[in-house]
Symmetry: none
Subunit: 151 residues, 2 copies
Amino acid sequence: MKKQERQRYIRELLKANNIDKQEDFVILLKKEGITVTQATISRDIKEMQLIKVPATDGTYSYNLPVQKQLNTEKKLTKTLKDAFISTDVQNEMCLIKVTPGSGPAIVSLIEQMNYSFVFGTLGGDGSALIICHSNKDALKLSRIINEIVIE
Amino acid sequence: MKKQERQRYIRELLKANNIDKQEDFVILLKKEGITVTQATISRDIKEMQLIKVPATDGTYSYNLPVQKQLNTEKKLTKTLKDAFISTDVQNEMCLIKVTPGSGPAIVSLIEQMNYSFVFGTLGGDGSALIICHSNKDALKLSRIINEIVIE
DNA sequence: TTTGAATAATAATTCAAA
DNA sequence: TTTGAATTATTATTCAAA
């Protein structure tokens, strides 16, 4: 089926890019060899319940559905409470140490959280390395993680 | 200040109505005696980081930002766990007693929670007076607060 | 700084077609 | 059912003004 595959691409594109208008999806999909019009994207967005979020920096960006975000945060909280050991920050990187085996899960959840300040991730067995845009961002992430664990 | 008051109304309207376009805000605000144009609403929405969510029933509706809601609830939980003493309900009012100095913080957080059943708030030093729409609502709030503390 | 009027830009839908 | 082209509707911004 064509539509589902396209919507999968859309989900991927969301994570990798900062998309602030539907035309961007059209352009990015074209690069993947998928040609559609804005009308179709509008329908996909409605169907996938994507939301356009005004960011703090004055731009807009399409994001994953609210419900999904909530679920992701819940899972992240649960996983962290079970597996968290410590965080360390160095430059723009935040290293999250967790119990052996939990690294990949944490990485995956943090990716799904779609934090705008996260640049990239790397999952080890007992650790998750989160590369942010700046040192400030890394500290922010560290703070968020620790707050989740404490709560 | 005019803008802040308007944005408070917007937050209220959000809860009470299903708003699917900015013009609706213009119309609803007019009924409250506040006359603004769509342009201003657009700016408010950006500033308040409201999102337009595609609902499952095929409609759209403006909502509060998820992230913000989550954060507020977390802060409220944390603050209550630290400072909570007791609640008392009388008529449509719920009085939350807290350790000295924490009253204003609690009030602010409860405001941010945007409970639809809250009519107004008043912050003392060691207490927060929350005025609800009805006695039932006040009891409900009291229950919510106590559950948060216990959890 | 904040705003409205006008406008530009973006998004949603209609309607025909496959 | 799903889609594109065209269109309409909605939203964001520009620009002047207070």
